[in-house]
Amino acid sequence: MEAEKILYLLGNEAIAYSSVEAGLGFASAYPGTPSTEIVETLAKLSKKYGFYVEWSVNEKVALEAAYGAAVAGVKSLVAMKHVGVNVAADPLTTSAYTGVNNSFVIVSADDPSMWSSQNEQDNRYYGLRSYIPVLESPTPYHIKDIVLEAFRVSERFGHPVLLRTTTRLSHLRVPYSFREPVREVSPPEIVRDPARFSVIPAHARRLRGDMLRRWSRIEDYFSSAWFNWVEGEGDKLVITSGFSYSYVVDALNRLGLEDVKILSLSGMIPIPRKLIIEAAKDVKKVLVVEELEPIVETHVKSILFDEGINVEVAGKDYIPLVGELTLDSVVKGIGAWAGLEVEKSISQPKIDLPVRPPAFCPGCPHRGTFFSLRKAVNRSGLKPIYSGDIGCYSLAVLPPFQMQDTIVDMGSSIGLANGFSHVLPEDHIVVATIGDSTFFHSGIPALLNAVYNKAPMLVVILDNRVTAMTGAQPHPGSGYNINWEKSVEVDIKKIVEALGIEYVIELDPFKIRDSEKIFKDAVEYVKRARKPAVVIAKRACTLLIVAWARRRGIEIPIYTVETEKCIKCGICYNNFTCPAIYPDDKGIAHIDPALCVGCGECVDVCPTKAFKPVKEWSEEFKSLWW
């Protein structure tokens, strides 16, 4: 047996490595922060350990694919960010009715504090409302044990398991000891069993009963399993859910509280009723420390009420409902609950600091697209409503662009535009902006709807060849699979034409003047024809191209300013806001050579043509753009 190897891994990488140790055979995902690195890491390991991995086009398809693999008897995993579970909720719910023939692990990466999300929904609720058990690691050091357990529970009960992680857990780095898995690969065999897997009403009614019986067996198991435990002694009880255990242990140490026992629930759904009764029956008071919603708290209150155990139970009175937990907030919450004074004074800077919101990267094609689109729309005299979407281009919500009036969920740009375009008067122009990956994910049905119902709108598809926001993953339009091996390259223009759009044209966002003209014509078409038109702004994500250039030792071009030509109009640093361009005290533009990547977009932006290359585009650099 090979010795264990100590690696320093990201939480998500640890989830991936543990899944390999568990004997994974199939993995699928649609990228989404903070889940992306799980399947990205699996892709890197897939050849060596012989299992299948894919980027699917959206979460519903990803979940169905992994579910199918598990029905066929293969250990499978699907990963997504919390809102991805909304997209996949339909098959997810019914998978608990049918169960599976081997492990089926659904990883939900939640995002308390909304570091990169539109909401902070708590997906433990999905477990609760779908009869799917939920496991979450109590510390950074238990990730492997919990992942292995998720696969075991799922296999043992033939039931899906939801492995919950959060931004903190997924994006921390921790020493991890990897043990080479001993893989026995036996070919799967499909057992055709429609009475179980075809949920026509007659079958579903019976399956629901089966599911509830499985659920109560799982609950019994959760009341006795190793991953739910009591530690310490005292007449006060703190109950933790998943990762909140780590904060509680560190907080109790800091506070020096010794008369407190902890009930740590890493498997909190189904709620381990017996364990809770046992732990709470002889204490004076109980505090539930959980991130986000009071799920365990509500259950504890109801269970103890049912049992006639009269003890004070607190939770969200002391622990924040909004945002992620921190050691500071938990120390404060437990301190207040235990009657201790904990205040500390933090030094505040005496000068005003400017905020630094995220912005388009230097050389980002989206900056050029919005710059020329804005000019064309403003000159049309029509009143715009910009129906936005989720991706790097969401950043156009901020000044100077302010061209994302609505952003709701992936695909909502064309979706909401379907409503706007039928109710707004004709002096308006509805502009939907959607990324290429988002178009494949959920834009296609919305655009089909627009064609079918003759919804007048300008749809701009920002085709930067990859799913950029989540770190440049390939998708069906990229022409590469998850391991960047050549695959089919699906042509967006052809799809748009096949959907029945009569006006579709491509442009290069780096060519600002040409783009403005193309947008102008497209706006006029929508106004005249009262039908949808599509413009595809096609230019690869610059961050990715620059990373490739660096990796291959290809020189990156750089531009500079002929300062004597600068008239201090500020267009480049105030209206275009390339991060590489900054004004000096007098308002003259300069380029920071540490940030410039030589895209040359600024050339068309400057009224006096003050920008010129210092290092030109080499043939090699050109060849990287596809």
């Binding site: 780095r173 990267c361 991060p579």
Partner: protein, 194 residues
């Protein structure tokens, strides 16, 4: 033992890589080290901070006022995060300002920022890391030069020259990275405490 570090800077400056290299070096020394990162949206040129906690801890975020070391790759971001620093906390800061990409933004002067740095915590080591990196041919070497500087201070427990060099040798473009590391390792002796 518990030792806390905050790394602050702007998305794209290589902060995560810097933390990762230190984490990997300490892991080799069998020191327990947790690091909490910001991924996704804020990496696009926004403020980025990385928390590192060394020792027998379970939760990954450094409490306010408890960082033993603040590493700032950009002046505004270093000042923004001074609240994390303990009374005796050391600062290693890049003398470099990146203007936020916000129209008509007002930024404080360099001297105000530097004064602010001195007002809080312990000693400050201020150096032009990015300028040095550009001299070596590319701004991407900034973080490895900073790594050299941190290592040379000998204040992070068990972060020794030998282990870090070993880790840097494993990087892509290792020759230039080693040069950058050595440059940083000697640097603070030249500039001294400010």
């Amino acid at each position: 033992m518990e030792y806390n570090i905050i790394f602050a800077g702007v998305g794209g400056q290589g902060i995560i890589t810097l933390g990762k290299l230190i984490g990997a070096a300490l892991t080799r020394q069998n020191v327990n080290v947790l690091m909490a990162e910001t991924h996704g949206l804020s990496q696009r040129g926004g403020s980025v901070i990385v928390h590192m906690r060394i020792g027998d801890v379970k939760s990954p975020l450094v409490p306010m006022g408890e960082a033993d070391l603040l590493v700032g790759l950009e002046l505004i971001e270093a000042v923004r995060n001074l609240g994390f620093l303990s009374d005796s906390g050391v600062k290693v800061v890049n003398d470099y300002i990146i203007r936020p990409s916000v129209p008509n933004v007002k930024i404080p002067s360099r001297s105000d920022l530097v004064d602010e740095l001195h007002r809080t915590g312990g000693p400050t080591y201020l150096a032009r890391f990015t300028e040095l990196a550009l001299e070596l041919g590319n701004a991407i070497y900034t973080n490895v030069i900073v790594l050299g500087a941190i290592t040379s201070l000998g204040i992070v427990p068990k972060l020794t020259y030998e282990t870090v060099v070993d880790i840097v040798k494993g990087l892509r473009d290792s020759e230039n990275n080693l040069m950058a590391f050595e440059r940083g390792y000697k640097l603070l002796k030249e500039v001294g405490v400010e």
